[in-house]
């Protein structure tokens, strides 16, 4: 085993014995960078023996997501990289968890395929660069984009994994086939667990053919409630809508797509994808069905792709790094009412995705309005996550939706089952878990 590659300890005083003093002082961070799943297991076993917590990291683009933690060391999984299996005709791809999403998407594009859940790239929003995240990170955070409403979330495409639990043991779950009910689906448990249960070393995902053609129907000038009504109508049609977003005028004005920015009005967008004649037919039908509500326009391939990337990656809020950003998931028909209940004031900005079921809300620095956000969800159900905020605020304000006592206790028991000594990302989601 190449131990040196595994450990790269920064110089912390130097001289004989620095390794010990490093841990006693707890100021410097050790970075453990395994190159094999077995080394990852050894790294966790080492942390267990040392009683040292690990920050589990893929390629580091989402370190500012979740609650800040006290982890003395980093388990850097970025050296676990590479596509290990890709069979386009079987619609399946396996990769080491630290493989960059960009590499995977490029390989898929060569075969006209895609990750249908349209993973969001939060890099730019969180102050990093675009296209730098890992497949493991996307799955660990269960990040899905606009196509979520039609194709499902990251977790719906997550077929199999191998991971190292907080017990320092390698386990696998699932497989490489799309239809599998053998045993508990631990992939679902890993998706959205933010590295608090296990460090994934390998993942297998379902991939799908990329659509031949894309069109986006735009409606201009609708107020929130009317816009969400239009989206609901489109989603209740048989036109297989794969994106349904609404940008009020202050957001649409910032788009890089001229048909959106130059409207000088709110823009409601509905995407259809598929074979050419089908897409043309459905786009025309949507314009006909909704034409009485507002003036309509149509985006073709390039502009469509650009627009939905903006929606997916929160580009409207990426530029101003100071504002606080909430991700709010609600029943889609309740979106506009929830926003009205939060009553964020004139200095707040928001837009909707998922037909109104996803609200992205940006508030001025300091005004996190947690009580209002949580209260607004009481009547209809849903959850709110503080996606971007300074570290001290994320320490103070619950980043994830607080759970009822019964569910919170169950969550803590699941954590204790996989990571009883709280080695992996302790407190990343909930204080004390």
């Amino acid at each position: 085993m190449r131990v040196h590659a595994l450990f790269s300890l920064p110089p912390c005083g130097g001289g004989p014995g620095w390794g010990d003093s490093l841990r006693a002082a707890g100021v410097c961070m050790a970075t453990l960078k395994p190159e094999t799943p077995e080394q990852a297991a050894e790294a966790v076993a080492w942390a267990l023996a040392e009683e040292a917590a690990l920050e589990v990291m893929g390629r580091g683009t989402k370190r500012a997501l979740g609650r800040p933690m006290k982890a003395g060391n980093i388990l850097d999984l970025s050296a676990l990289r590479g596509i290990t299996l890709y069979e386009p005709e079987e619609l399946v791809l396996s990769a080491r968890a630290g493989t960059s999403l960009a590499e995977i998407e490029a390989a898929l594009a060569e075969k006209n395929q895609m990750l249908a859940f349209e993973p969001a790239d939060l890099g730019p929003l969180l102050g990093g660069k675009a296209g730098a995240g890992s497949i493991g990170g996307v799955l660990a955070c269960n990040l899905a984009g606009p196509r979520r409403i039609k194709a499902g979330a990251a977790r719906d495409h997550f077929l199999g994994t191998q991971a190292v639990s907080g017990r320092g043991e390698i386990f696998k779950s699932g497989g490489r086939v799309v239809k599998n009910v053998t045993g508990y689906d631990l992939c679902k448990l890993m998706a959205g667990s933010y590295g608090t249960l296990a460090a994934m070393t390998d993942v297998t995902v379902k991939v799908l053919p990329a659509p031949e053609k894309t069109r986006t129907v735009l409606l201009y000038g609708l107020e929130d409630a009317a816009a969400l009504g239009a989206l609901s109508q489109a989603l209740q049609s048989s036109h297989e809508v794969s994106g349904a977003a609404h940008m009020p005028a202050d957001i649409s004005g910032g788009s890089a797509v001229s048909y959106v920015a130059k409207a000088g009005a709110a823009v409601t967008a509905i995407r259809v994808e598929g074979p050419g004649p089908s897409v043309e037919h459905r786009a025309a039908a949507l314009r006909r069905d909704l034409g009485a509500m507002a003036e309509t326009e149509e985006l073709h391939g390039m502009n469509s792709a650009k627009f939905w990337t903006e929606v997916r990656d929160l580009r409207p809020f990426a530029g101003d790094s100071e504002s606080l950003v909430w991700k709010i998931s609600v029943p889609p028909a309740a979106g506009a009412q929830v926003m009205a209940r939060i009553a964020p004031g004139s200095d707040a900005r928001h837009y909707y995705d998922w037909g109104g079921g996803l609200i992205w809300l940006a508030l001025p620095p300091g005004a996190v309005r947690e009580a209002e956000v949580r209260a607004a969800l009481k009547a209809c159900g849903g959850h709110a996550t503080l996606i971007r905020a300074p570290e001290d605020m994320r320490k103070r304000v619950p980043v994830f939706q607080p759970q009822e006592p019964g569910l919170a206790a169950l969550t803590a028991r699941v954590k204790a089952g996989f990571d009883p000594n709280r080695i992996l990302n302790p407190g990343r989601m909930v204080a004390g878990v």
Binding site: F171, T182, Y184, D185, S238, G357
Partner: protein, 495 residues
């Protein structure tokens, strides 16, 4: 099949337990008479039978909570049951267990087209959901072949699929939320009408957990608008290789059909004799490809699939020109199981999934096994997603044939795992495949799964004897093995 040894102390308290349950569920909700209990002795896997100690049929979540709390406090095992259509023995009762029937939870609570979802009680049938919304052009997508009888609660427990999985997903992909009761009586809500979990995806874990984690008392599912139209192609091939290649080429061309089913020669012949569907009898593999969506798209794709099939040597190629013709194409496939039942006194339905391109190899090896075991086998195959249903033909009245059929079935499933597939695609592990779990999972893998079980049900009172070949005690599973302070890198220069 060995089940956990009945607890004599519990059996001795039967009358007292029945009385306590009667206090929770008044009237006729508690069943103790043996002739009435017999109705629950088996599920769809009829080879296994066991009369439960007591059956209880609650009507409210509060009653379920009190029943479970009582059973938890008294160490009584509980087996939840929907319609009892499980093909893996998931609802097989225990001699010392309470059978918890959810049949009275049969109300549709809320239909919400604006949010495209329906909230129903778990005893509503799968088809019952579609029936309740089809007037508005909506439907519930997963369609297991038992959909007329199976309940949505059972679908959640088994993560049921159907012929449309490739395009529309399994139960897990169409479920938005549940209300569920833990073994200690705690009522939890997971999800709702919104998307995605607010913490760990426990809804995802609960789906397909086969009644071992919690009892579901309310279900919210996603509704879809019915496609504008659907057409099917009936394609016959001289070899299963060519049929398999055609399936791969369809998907390779970027087409995801609504359904893609394959049958081998024995299945074709049995289905045709039974249903007179007009299937060609001189082919080795028959493929039904269904395309759904807007008319213009369906017509286009029907032509494309027809061309692909021709290029892969299809000797029969027919596209449905009417709804009646489409239904006729399906008639044989849908009747495949009863058709096999007609040519054999008994049959045993298996449910492995394989990487699709391994199909010819698996069929070849299966034919060899068929000769070794002296039992015939017919295959129906959800070709799009690789889910294989070999039907082993046997006669239970012939001494030893059932055992031979089971051994044959186990060998088929081991073969599925060997070629990179899994033990079960949609029927579940239950008691049937419990003892095969170790062919697919290591002890460490299974222990990690059981730690989920321990978080939900530490005393293993919910549906024990299913899914896990060995149920470790949670105390033992909880221990952490730290390498006694030793650093695991003895060769690392530490100073």
């Amino acid at each position: 099949m060995r089940m956990p040894e009945p607890d004599q102390a519990i059996l001795a308290r039967r009358a007292e337990i029945a009385q306590a349950l009667s206090a929770i569920v008044p009237g006729e909700g508690v069943i103790v008479a043996e002739d009435e209990l017999r109705a629950y002795e088996s599920d769809g896997l009829t080879a296994y039978r066991q009369i439960p100690m007591i059956a209880v049929l609650p009507e409210t979540t509060a009653q379920v909570s009190r029943i479970l709390k009582f059973c938890h406090e008294n160490g009584v095992k509980v087996v939840p049951r929907g319609a009892g259509t499980s093909l893996s023995g998931g609802a097989l009762p225990l001699a010392d267990g309470v059978l918890l029937g959810l049949g009275k939870f049969s109300k549709i609570l809320d239909i919400d087209f604006a949010n495209r979802c329906a909230t129903v009680q778990p005893g509503v049938t799968n088809l019952g959901i579609t029936k309740a919304v089809e007037h508005a052009g909506f439907y519930y997508a997963p369609d297991p072949s038992s959909q007329i009888a199976c309940t949505i609660g059972g679908n959640v427990a088994e993560n049921s699929g159907g012929v449309h999985c490739l395009k529309y997903g399994l139960t897990a992909n169409n479920l938005l939320g549940v209300e569920a009761v833990l073994i200690d009586g705690t009522v939890i809500r997971l999800g709702g009408k919104h998307l995605d979990a607010e913490g760990y995806d426990l809804l995802g874990v609960l789906t397909g957990s086969e009644g071992l984690l919690a009892v579901v008392t309310e279900v919210t599912v996603r509704l879809l608008k019915a496609p504008e139209t659907a057409r099917a192609l009936l394609l016959g091939f001289p070899s299963s290789e060519q049929g398999g290649d055609c399936v791969a080429a369809v998907i390779g061309a970027g087409i995801v059909p609504g359904g893609m089913e394959m049958m081998d020669k024995p299945a074709i012949h049995a289905a045709e004799a039974f249903a007179k569907a007009g299937y060609p009898l001189d082919v080795e593999a028959l493929l039904i490809v269904e395309l759904d969506g807007p008319q213009v798209e369906v017509d286009l794709l029907v032509d494309q699939v027809g061309e692909i099939a021709a290029a892969h040597g299809a000797v029969t190629s027919r596209a449905s020109e009417s709804e009646a013709e489409r239904q006729a194409f399906w008639a044989g496939r849908k009747a495949a199981f009863p058709a096999i039942g007609r040519i054999s006194p008994d049959y045993y339905c298996m449910d492995g999934t394989i990487p699709r391109h391994k199909l010819p190899l698996v069929l070849r090896r299966m034919r060899a096994m068929s000769e070794t075991y002296g039992l015939r086998v017919a295959n129906v195959f959800h070709a799009g997603d690789g889910n294989l249903h070999p039907l082993i033909l046997y006669d239970a009245n012939e001494p030893g044939e059932l055992e031979r059929a089971e051994d044959f079935g186990a060998d088929i499933l081991k073969l599925c795992v060997e070629v990179g597939g899994v033990l079960t695609g949609e029927h579940g592990v239950g008691v049937e495949k419990r003892d095969l779990m170790e062919t697919m999972f290591s002890e460490t893998d299974l222990k990690h799964q059981q730690r989920v079980k321990c978080a939900f049900d530490p005393e293993a009172l919910l549906n024990p004897g299913k899914m896990f070949p060995v149920l470790h005690r949670c105390v033992e599973l909880g221990r952490v093995h730290v390498h006694g302070g030793k650093v695991p890198f003895p060769d690392l220069p530490r100073f």
